[in-house]
């Protein structure tokens, strides 16, 4: 028996390592599922739109967000959950506020990730790690690291972050927001109707979405 004991121990540890790795991986994947739709749509004007959910969804939630704004960060996960629950169309628009030192760079990072089809993954990472990069004096190094984590082409990501196209995209979103009276973040529209700022919180937003769903489908 002693002769076989090292083989048994080694095989046991190998099985344990592989088994626990698979279990842990599955647990992580179910806790942070990858958005199913992550590509940017293109509007007739040629601008890029970051949208989740079907185009013909009864309710469209359009958010003007700033990646460095804490309330936007708190809303990120509830909006993801609402999108899944009601199959909403969620549109994210860039609205980095000038008072947030790293917000514009974060917006560029998300747009650069979008150019490799990973906008929503970067969106989720930026909000999840907001507390870390917001305080950093070298946020760009962190954005590069996030890009690495998302397995983006780093050379292309760095180049895109500095490109005029990416900067123009952010400015286009900002201009669009300014044109319709957006002054703060998060500003949310449900089927083109602005949600009162006091109701933009994880507790009241679901009720607003529910009401919009009922309004959009009065018979159901």
């Amino acid at each position: 028996m002693r002769r076989y004991l090292p083989f048994i121990i080694v095989i046991g540890v190998a099985l344990l390592a592989v088994g626990s790795g698979i279990f842990f991986y599955r647990a992580k994947r179910s806790a942070n599922p990858t958005p199913k739709i992550s590509k940017a749509d293109t509007a007739p004007s040629g601008e890029s739109i970051h949208a989740l959910g079907p185009k013909d969804a009864p309710v469209t939630l359009e958010e003007f967000g700033d990646f460095q704004c804490p309330p936007c960060g708190k809303l990120s996960e509830p909006i993801n959950q609402l999108q899944k629950k009601y199959n909403l169309r969620v549109i994210f628009r860039q609205f980095p506020l000038p008072m947030h030192a790293n917000a514009k760079e974060a917006a560029f990072a998300s747009e650069a990730a979008a150019r490799q089809g990973r906008f929503w993954q970067m969106h989720d990472v930026l909000y999840r790690e907001q507390a870390v990069w917001s305080k950093s004096t070298d946020a760009r190094a962190l954005f590069n690291a996030y890009a690495g984590m998302l397995q983006l082409d780093l050379g292309r990501f760095r180049k895109d972050m500095d490109s005029t196209e990416v900067q123009r995209q952010v400015e286009t979103d900002q201009q669009r927001g300014a044109d319709i009276g957006v002054k703060t973040t998060p500003t949310i529209f449900l089927n083109d109707e602005v949600v009162p700022p006091k109701q933009i919180n994880p507790d009241e937003l679901p009720a607003m979405v529910e009401a919009a769903m009922k309004k959009a489908k009065p018979s159901s």
Partner: protein, 145 residues
């Protein structure tokens, strides 16, 4: 204490250290594969290191290679603890290879990335311990002789 008893204690300790390293490397590999960012108590350094181009070799995460290396060290240490003479040599070579890799990774963190990842430092400490055991092993064995 007999020589074989000393060897058993020596290699059992090495196997336990390798097991701790295997657990850590497996965790980091899973984090890498799930696309999540590893958190080091709010420190941004982890992202800089684990998200850098140095964290992969030919598309394979370094943590995955680390897990494989720790598993090899564990296997050889276990067999050495049970008296397999050939396993001792394999264990020593594996640890030396891990030590060289650790030196390179420490150099990268210090001089290329200017950031240290706590997981990597913990792993480096484990490998230094294993290296210490490999270096001390002949002395202990000679003393007993």
């Amino acid at each position: 204490m007999s020589r074989s008893c000393v060897q058993t204690i020596f290699y059992s300790t090495a196997a336990l250290i390798s097991l701790v390293g295997l657990a850590e490397a497996t965790y980091l590999t899973v984090v890498f594969l799930s696309g999540e960012t590893a958190v080091c108590g709010g420190s941004p350094d982890c992202f800089q290191v684990l998200g850098s181009s140095y964290a992969k070799i030919g598309g394979v995460p370094v943590s995955g290679l680390g897990a494989l290396a720790y598993f090899s060290a564990f296997t050889f240490a276990t067999f050495a603890a049970f008296g397999y003479a050939q396993a001792r040599r394999f264990f020593a070579w594996t640890v030396i290879a891990m030590f060289c890799m650790t030196l390179w990774l420490l150099f990268v963190q210090a001089f290329r990335l200017h950031a240290f990842c706590r997981y990597c430092l913990f792993s480096a400490a484990l490998i230094f311990l294993l290296t210490g055991l490999v270096v001390a092993r002949p002395v202990a064995e000679t003393e007993k002789n």
